[in-house]
Amino acid sequence: MDWSHAPAVWLILLPFVASGLAAIWPRRWHPGYVMTGTGALGLAVLGWWAPGLLDGEVVRWQHAWMPALGLDFSLYIDGLAALFALLVFGIGILVAIYARYYMPAHYPLKRFYTLMLAFMGAMLGIVMAGNVIQLVFFWELTSLVSFLLIGYWHQGESARDAARTALIVTGGGGLCLLGGALLLGHIVGSYDLGAILASGDTIRNSPLYEVTLVLILLGALSKSAQFPFHFWLPQAMSAPTPVSAYLHSATMVKAGVFLLLRFWPVLAGTDAWFWGVGTAGLVSLLLGAWIATFQQDLKAILAYSTISHLGLIMMMVGFGSTLGVVAALFHVINHATFKASLFMAAGAIDHEAGTRDLRRLGGLRRLMPITATLALISGAAMAGVPLLNGFLSKEMFFAVTLGSDYGTWVDTGVVLFAVLAAGLSVAYSLRLLVGTFFGPVSLDSPRSPGEPPRWMRVPIALLSLLCLLVGILPARVVGPVLHAAAAAVLGAELPVYSLQLWHGFTWPLVMSIAAFASGCVFYVVTRSYLAEREATAWIAPVSARRVFEWVMVMLTETLPRWQQAVFPARHLQVQLRVLFGMAAGVAALVLVQFAWQVPAPGRIDVGLAVLWLVGSGCAIGAARQAKFHRMTALMLSGGAGLAVAITFVWLSAPDLAATQLLVESVTTVLLLLGLRWLPKRIPGLVRSSPRTRRRRLGDFLIASVAGGGMGMLAYLAMLHPLPDAVSRFFIENALPGGGGRNVVNVILVDFRSFDTLGEITVLAIVALSIYGVLRRFRPANESLGTPHLRLQAKGGDPAMRPAHPGATLPGFMAVPARLVLLVSPFALLFAVHLLVRGHNLPGGGFVAGLAVTLVLIVLCMARGVRWVEARVRVAPLRWIAFGWLLALATGTGAMLLGRPFLTSWHGSGTLPVLGTWHFASALFFDLGVFAVVVGVATLILIALAHQSVRAPIGVVRHDDTEPT
């Protein structure tokens, strides 16, 4: 069966590739073609597989992803997956065609189609997943794309709210599902779907079964907008109508149903299953139908009806009977066809009439006869009129409820509720259809309606035709697909069911007639009452949406406020004290064990000891001066840093020493730039009272304990005999394995290059965040004024005034600036030297990057930021992007050559002038590190330096008068 397996991975990649394509699609062509083409290709692949799939074969494809964790990327396509894939592609094509004419050309169409295609891929990922973790991943992806699509018109507040609600509910459900999937994997011992499906008894008998079931149910119910999570779906109707038709009626909301059907063989059949799934389904069925009856907005009616119909499907799944599964699958198909068609029709009406309000619509039958006919067919299918598909699945649903055997009152109740809900669905369908298409022509609509463009009707027509075909020739049209899907869920034990229009005069038929009649009567009786009604009767005060909002306010407002009131944290010092206190406590617990066996130090190196005395003196001095003499403190901490750098030299670690030296310089300069914006000392504010002294004593104690503890820890760690650790491997393999004599560098760019890649990624993110924060930062008012020295010179000495804000003083810098210019080329050359030789001698990308940064910093200090920016093209973001991509490409290059990610290659060759040249591919990686470091440091530097150039918002810089 190998012939059929290779395209599986292409099938899942196809929508994502198309999504990227749609994003860069040329303006000349409509991006809708991409989606139509993708759907068509997907359908073709499914058609190619059809013979095998209909025979019950499973298309599988597997690729080791994280074998150490037992995670494979695997695809598992059986009849069930194929049925849902068919919906995804089929409805996808129709929606793409529809949206082509529905969405005006001046909308951001590329974004729309990019997201729609991404959704297509994510949804396919769910249905084709052969691994439960993978399934959860794609599950969350659909939530995310749905969030972006609901918020398509993000200018509107309601759209943003709706998007957020949907994301919180479905994303939260996804997290629960992840928990469920992990538990499943824990019970079975594998995340592979095949293995899980084969161990149903193990799972059902496991003590964790209930927890697993609840978690998975939370995921499924939230995604399928089932009670009590149903409220997000009606809100999500602020998405464009094609999105509602595709995601929120035909496919995504059915993911929950898919999930339950997928795990049906291993989870179903217990009482917990029946009560959990069945109750949620029943409540949603009734609640959705009841609320739908009271809506005035076409899309709201359809949304609540979707909740109701999904509830019906859930209920059938919940029964645990095999016929229930068949009926559920059948209704999934039918609901997708008629509901998508109705959504599109509602969109067409909105498009033409400019409103979706039932009170402002009427008589459209005369103005748009073709659309009216099509909508009537789909609407009748929703109501369950014979000769249409809805009738058949509803009959099957009645048959399932009649087969219920959970005790007398449950059985009777289920049958009654089923008829009641079916009657309500007849009523709201009638309201929808009669209110829109019949009666006098409404003159209230904002636009004068007419037939929509032909191609907008074609998708509706195709779906309506399908409703008819399935309704009349069910066995011929959907029989094989339904059979394959049901067989995939149920295995060999398929129930006896017949797809026929006429089964004879049976109980289900009686129930159908009763529902239809009661619905009609209900409609006629309440018609005028409902036309005026704004809120749903009886349940309007208890809205799930309000509960959700209350919970959200609770979590984001009330609780934090309460917490703030209980733990006052206006001062950072309080939090720091708590934090350090706790750390010290924990550390003490650990250190106490060692206290009696502290090894005595061996020989004391006098030179090093003196150096450390000086360094410690600097550090203590820095701490002492930190409060009132920040500049002094900064200089002293620089001294401590230098002592550390010299220590590294002393201990033969030139690499570390160079890095430390450069880091120290860069940090000091950046801190100096920041000092300017710290608040000034307010003279006379702090009096030395006993209380202050007590507090200081406490702080001193905490500092001593924390510092002493750290020192102790380091001391113990260093005197602890080293086990035969990995360091020996590094030292022995650096040259033969990594092709470099500088072990530190080989570790960074070769042995541990994956870590380094992660580190530079973090570095880039941090730099971007700092830039983002500082971009909007304006200094506090009290530090706005000109530095006092400059202020004293004001009016007196023109030489003390810079030419423009941010420039250096003219007399000050004349000589240093020229000297700096003289040295900087050599410094840059030295940086390149450090980079190239890094693999064998002290140096490397990190140090080299810092060296380049230092050159820029010195230039900025000597000539001013403006001068540098005007002459040196610094594009930090490009540096970061280039470096990161280069590092990544180096890693991927190894993969292209069939080696694992980030494998390095080294060898030597002879170059013309330069002689023998030892080369390692890790150099490219190091180059990437170098570029990232340069970009990051420059970005932060520029962000800080610009502070002094920029005037605060709304404040005119009054202190620096323009020289005239």
């Binding site: 004293q792 000495d797 030489a799 003390m800 003219p810 007399g811 240093p816 000297l819 003289l822 040295v823």
Partner: protein, 119 residues
């Protein structure tokens, strides 16, 4: 210490002398920084180490490694040159700053701020 034993004795004496000289110069510079009274005097003292002291040390290094290794070891000269270029920057900035302070404070006996810019 083995490598140093290969050094001819005349050279060893010379190298040691130069290195010692450098150390003495640097030390006296530091001592001056500590002992002098006025700021402007003190600013001058450490330059002794960065100029003459470095020159002696570079001489010692060049001599020593030229004899120990093949050919003239001139790389150390680069250190001297770069220090020669960069050392004044710090000195100038510090002195300028002090000058500006005194200027603003109106301390008597301070040279004019900048002749060119006074106009």
């Amino acid at each position: 210490m083995n490598a140093l034993q290969q050094l001819p004795s005349w050279a060893a004496v010379l190298v040691a002398g130069l290195a010692l000289m450098s150390a003495v110069l640097a030390f006296s510079g530091s001592l001056g920084l500590l002992r002098f009274r006025a700021f402007y005097q003190r600013a001058h003292a450490p330059t002794l180490g960065t100029t003459a002291g470095v020159a002696c040390m570079v001489g010692a290094v060049v001599l020593c490694f030229s004899l120990l290794q093949d050919g003239l070891a001139v790389r150390a000269l680069l250190i001297g040159v770069l220090l020669l270029v960069t050392a004044p920057i710090g000195l100038l900035l510090v002195v300028r700053a002090a000058l500006a302070r005194d200027h603003l404070a109106g301390t008597p006996g301070i040279p004019p701020w900048d002749d060119d810019l006074e106009e």
